[in-house]
């Protein structure tokens, strides 16, 4: 169930009035992101990690690599698993327990961007065809919720994957032996998610919490490096006009290039 948050009518009205004039309550323009900081390699025990700060939203993503069995329909490919935890310390509205529908949606939207853009060269992660492959666990840990968890998590997942090292190995009599040393996880694409909120029939990019609390609907569009769309997700209980969706695609195409520069540099 959605956790309902009470927003005062005064604030709701203020947000709408400002939007009508093309302004937002935190002073940003309609298509501006908050300040973004990306740090990588903070967790030494993880094969890869990154922390993204998007304004006050904070997401830590850790990558663990294990050896396991492939799926029977793709016996020569490694396995990608994305999980998201809305940790109770991140927001008064998060509760302990197994991932709820919001956490599952978050993980699946991030997963879709990585998987459909073929960001990880999974075929290079096969050790013994049909028997042993590398499993890449992407664990998204939300540390502070101030809105737009999808974009922050997608950035953190990408930054962490780019920072991931895979241990060296050799095959001896059909057994996998781990050797010393590491090499870089093979990354081929850089998917970046851009999320919009619709408030009072107006689109804003990168909604923060106060805007999410009053928004009618949400739209996330993920672009890969060559300018193709690789994932879309509408959320929230409202709707969009067809025109708004095509407009959002245009804006997201430009915004994703800006965001990608931040990660590929970091």
């Amino acid at each position: 169930m959605t956790t309902s948050t009470i927003v005062s009518r005064v604030k709701q009205k203020r947000i709408a009035q400002l939007l009508a004039k093309g302004k937002r309550i935190d002073g940003r323009g309609l298509t501006d992101y908050r300040e973004i900081q990306i740090e990588t390699g903070l967790i030494e025990r993880a094969e890869g990690s990154a922390r993204v700060r998007l304004g006050k939203t904070e997401v830590l993503t850790g990558i663990k690599i294990e050896i396991g069995e492939p799926f029977s329909d793709v016996p020569n490919e490694g396995v990608l698993t994305v999980n998201a935890e809305l940790v109770p310390l991140a927001s008064p509205t998060f509760e302990p327990g197994p991932p709820d529908e919001n956490a599952i949606e978050l993980a699946r939207v991030v997963d879709r961007g990585i998987r459909e853009s073929k960001a990880i060269a999974l075929e290079e992660l096969c050790l013994i065809p049909g028997k042993k492959v590398f499993i890449v666990f992407v664990d998204i840990y939300v540390l502070n919720h101030d809105g737009n968890l999808i974009d922050a998590s997608a950035l953190a997942a990408l930054a962490a994957l780019m920072n991931t090292k895979v241990f060296n190995y050799e095959i001896e009599n059909g057994e996998v032996k781990i050797k010393s040393g590491y090499k870089q996880l093979p990354i081929r694409n850089y998917p970046v998610a851009v999320t919009f909120a619709k408030i009072n029939n107006q689109l804003v990019v990168d909604p923060w919490l106060e805007e999410e609390n009053v928004m009618d609907a949400r739209l996330t569009i993920t672009f890969e490096k060559d300018g193709k769309i690789c994932a879309i997700q509408k959320g929230g209980s409202g709707c969009f006009t067809t025109k708004q969706i095509l407009e959002a695609v245009k804006i997201a195409s430009e915004k994703s290039k800006e965001l990608r520069k931040l990660v590929v540099k970091a």
């Binding site: 699946r108 879309i232 997700q233 509408k234 006009t241």
Partner: protein
Amino acid sequence: MSQKLPEKLINEKGLRLDGRKPDELRPLKLEVGVLSNADGSAYIEQGKTKILAAVYGPKEVHPRHLALPDRAILRCRYHMAPFSVEERKSPAPSRREMELSKVIREALEPSIFLEYYPRTAIDIFVEVLQADGGTRCAGITVASLALADAGIPMRDLVCACAAGKVDGTIVLDLTDVEDKKGEADVPFAMMPNTESVTLLQMDGMLTPEEFEKAFNMAIEGCRKIYSLQKEALKAKYVAIKEAVEE
């Protein structure tokens, strides 16, 4: 039991495996009022996809703390029968089913006047009996009919249909094989009288131009489904009227 996948999904004549043109829907059968216990119910067959939907409510909310003082809460469960797919699916809800339950609920929510029924709950159950692609869209189409059958006031019917890309061609209403082997899938739902998009998802890879083409094709597909939905609703009342007159 694994089927062998065909090499080509679209032949030299531009026709698909089941003989359809790229912008053609599968044969659609809709029936309203199929379950006696539910307040509203409906059944859909879209090609080999077969889905039952039931609506219960507006009714008392359990557990009570979930109730909202100014409107009804809408709950939705999308579930696949273990025998609905090639390899038996565990009946426990998967992460996919949990996500789909959420997006289906959010696709139907804009159509319902929830504010007419404060402190109540409306439950929607979508049971996939057989899956052959497009189950979330067919689920929305049929659930919207079940809501109408339950007599719940709505702004419009919600109709849904996927478009996508298969063998380099933009196509409408993908089957399971087309979805798995194709390049992209765009599930879509709308309320036609206001042209409001209530569901939009995509996976795969499309250029913005291809996306726009798929998007427009899905809108056209939805309009066709919309008229079939209205026919199905009317058919139930025509049947009742005839029974009374006899």
